[in-house]
């Protein structure tokens, strides 16, 4: 009777019934993460492809058409039409009808054939810097390549003197979902889980049932574990669903060991649920609990390395990132999913997650006062 987890099975029994009895709560726990996952996954696709491009071809030769074709073949540009003046070209970009304008002046072919520099002008909308950078690089590349090929031909060479052959490891197509979606799982799990336990004790306090629990011989460890365990199971099921979406909807292959991924996810969720419980021991009503939950989510979104690389952050933000569970989980997750790393290489992250979880959980149990007011 006087075990440290006294009353645990009773709380577990009740929590499961409450959760299952209230399909709306269950729905709101499971459904938004899936929607968020899909929305985030698509929204964070930064692959720049098929940018609307207009052409003002004053040369109108086979060579000029071939050049336009080369632009289009990069997949970065999509020719959406032709215009008849530079003014028209600039106006179209200003109005947002196109990101890029290619102007080929008259005499392009003549200059090319005569061995003079054949100039081509490319106008790029710089308002979105990452799109502009991509357009700039690609168009410069087209120019260089074209120029080099012309030169090799002129000097009668068969091959280019130097050729760099980069090989992209782990994400050969450089798809941005491969980078972002595993991170999205880390963030989405945080939103769903912290919220769930943050509400649970507060709700009992608001309804007066907590008082009833406090007059019973229930131990605080029993109460905390009983509150946490059902959500741990539900969240693990949810995580399986999220990884399935990643694998089959976003086509991100899981290169590493599934068992290691499951262990990492387990400790991550345990840590987050403990964080929620900690909020729940501090908050006096559900609104407060909700606000405190929000406060924990934003740093994870910005500083965990989910979107922005931690290495380029100012020191203060880097310092914040080192205390976020999401930082270690997302790092570990990317290593396991994308690089097929083994746990042996990242045991530190796993141990740290487990330690954070146990520390937070113990803190909740120790901080929780079996008194009211």
């Amino acid at each position: 009777m006087r075990t440290p987890f006294r009353g645990f099975t009773a709380i577990l029994y009740k929590e499961f019934l409450v959760v299952l009895r209230d399909p709306l709560t269950l729905f709101f726990m499971l459904f938004p993460p899936i929607v968020e996952m899909i929305a985030f996954g698509y929204a964070l696709d930064t692959d720049v492809k098929h940018m609307a491009t207009l052409v003002f071809d004053e040369d109108r030769t086979e060579e000029s058409r071939s050049l336009v074709k080369q632009f289009e073949n990069t997949q970065t540009f999509k020719i959406v039409g032709e215009v008849q003046s530079v003014t028209e070209l600039a106006a179209a970009i200003r109005k947002g009808k196109a990101y890029v304008g290619i102007q080929i002046p008259p005499g392009f072919t003549r200059n090319l054939r005569a061995g003079r520099t054949a100039k081509v002008q490319v106008l790029i909308d710089g308002s979105n810097s990452s799109i502009a950078a991509s357009a700039l690089n690609t168009s410069l590349n087209v120019g260089f390549r074209n120029g080099l090929l012309t030169l090799t031909e002129r000097f009668g060479l068969r091959e280019l003197p130097v050729e760099v052959r980069p090989q992209i490891l782990y994400n050969p197509e450089m798809r941005s979902p491969n980078f972002f979606v595993p991170g999205v799982i880390g963030i989405v799990l945080q939103i769903a889980t912290v919220f769930a336990t943050a509400m649970s004790l507060v709700r009992e306090r608001e309804r007066g049932t907590l008082e009833q629990l406090l007059v019973s011989p229930l131990s605080r460890w029993g109460l905390m574990l009983g509150k946490l365990a059902p959500y741990l199971i539900i969240s693990m099921v949810m995580a399986v669903g999220l990884f399935a979406i990643m694998r089959y909807l976003f086509h991100v292959p899981i290169a590493g060991d599934l068992g290691a991924l499951a262990a990492a996810t387990f400790f991550y969720i345990f840590t987050l649920l403990s964080l929620g419980l900690l909020i729940s021991t501090r908050a006096t009503n559900q609104i407060q609990a909700l606000q405190m939950t929000m406060i924990t989510i934003l740093p994870s979104v910005f500083f965990s390395g989910f979107i922005f690389p931690r290495e380029t952050m100012p020191d203060i933000f880097y310092a914040i990132s080192t205390v976020l569970p999401a930082t270690y989980y997302i790092e570990l997750e990317r290593a396991l999913v994308l690089r097929g790393a083994s746990l042996a290489d990242f045991w530190f992250n796993l141990v740290l997650l487990a330690a954070m979880g146990l520390a937070l959980f113990s803190l909740c149990a120790l901080r929780f006062k079996k008194k009211i007011a």
């Binding site: 099975t9 019934l17 409450v18 007066g208 008082e211 009833q212 007059v215 011989p217």
Partner: protein, 318 residues
């Protein structure tokens, strides 16, 4: 025969900042008695219960349940006490059956013992027809029964009930009291807060708390004999007549009438002993209230509390 003391308070005090919610309250409750704890809202009734249940730390003084200190031996006390809070703290989304099972398990009951106790309490409270219904869908009376059954699952020896009959219909109220008498006869000690004077009359002992202080405590019959309630040279009479509100104005002006209060269709008067019934009847008749019916009465508990609150007198038999 002095019964074993189950609840004891010695100068029990609770301060919230500068506000003293419970001010040096002392009383004791014997095993098997029904202790009625009365007082207006905010007088400190619930605070006393919460301190005795170990939910609040006393700021000063001592409380003991079955000899255990409420501040230091909370865990020893918990298995002994049952607590039914004002709000009937039930899990609305759980059924009657599940609420009972949960509270049983919470106190370590399982298997056959749980089943047996469950059956006993279902039979006792007659809640069988609602067994599969969610607690949130029960009416007030049935919620109260369920809450009581839940607080009894672990065979408590002391049961605290914080306004168990607030907002309950009269039939459910009477049935609850029948149950309380049954428990008391089996040796359970009951501590009940209430607003109803008729309920107070049924308690074996009552305490009255006003402005954080215990004004009086004792057996109802003893309290009615207190000198402050029956000042020497006075008597209490009941005057039944038409137009009691007008009548009240009349009698209040009469010399020798000390207090006068309306009780439904009649007035309760505290008057000088030598005052004749005929005099009062005549004076009422002069004011067009004929045929007043006058008879002597004993003080009620309400009279006791009114008298004590008015004089601010502390004391009475403990």
């Amino acid at each position: 025969m002095p019964a074993e003391t189950m609840i004891q308070c010695e100068a029990l005090t609770k301060r919230f900042g500068h506000f003293t919610a419970v001010d040096h309250v002392s009383f004791s409750v014997g095993k098997g008695s029904i202790f009625g704890f009365l007082g207006p809202n905010g007088s400190g009734k619930s605070t006393v219960i919460r301190m005795l249940c170990g939910l609040l730390e006393p700021s000063d003084g001592q409380g003991r349940i079955a000899g255990f200190d409420v501040a230091r031996q909370t865990e020893e006390i918990k298995p002994l006490i049952g607590y039914m809070s004002q709000k009937f703290s039930l899990y609305d989304e759980l059924t009657v059956h599940e609420n009972l099972s949960f509270y049983g398990r919470l106190y370590g009951l399982k298997g056959a013992a749980l089943k047996q106790r469950y059956d006993e309490l279902v039979a006792l409270t007659h809640i069988e027809p609602y067994i599969g219904r969610r607690a949130g869908l029960l009416s007030g009376g049935w919620r109260q029964r369920l809450a009581m059954a839940c607080s009894l699952m672990h065979h408590p020896t002391v049961l605290f009930l914080d306004e168990p009959t607030a907002g309950i219909d009269p039939v459910a109220r009477r049935e609850l009291w029948d149950l309380l008498f049954e428990f008391s006869s089996k040796g359970m000690t009951l501590f009940v807060t209430t607003h109803y004077m008729d309920e107070a009359e049924r308690c074996s002992h009552v305490g009255y708390i006003h402005m954080s202080k215990l004004v009086v405590c004792g057996e109802p019959d003893d309290l009615k004999q207190l000198p402050v309630v029956n000042p020497p040279g006075t008597k209490r009479i009941d005057v039944t007549c038409d137009h009691v509100t007008t009548g009240l104005q009349v009698v209040r002006r009469l010399p020798g009438v000390r207090t006068a209060t309306v009780f439904g269709q009649s007035m309760h008067l505290l008057v000088d002993e030598k005052m004749s019934e005929g005099f009062i009847r005549d004076e009422l008749a002069k004011n067009k209230i004929p045929q007043a019916d006058i008879r002597p009465i004993a003080p009620s508990l309400e009279d006791v509390f009114v008298a004590l609150t008015a004089t601010g007198n502390n004391g009475g038999p403990k």
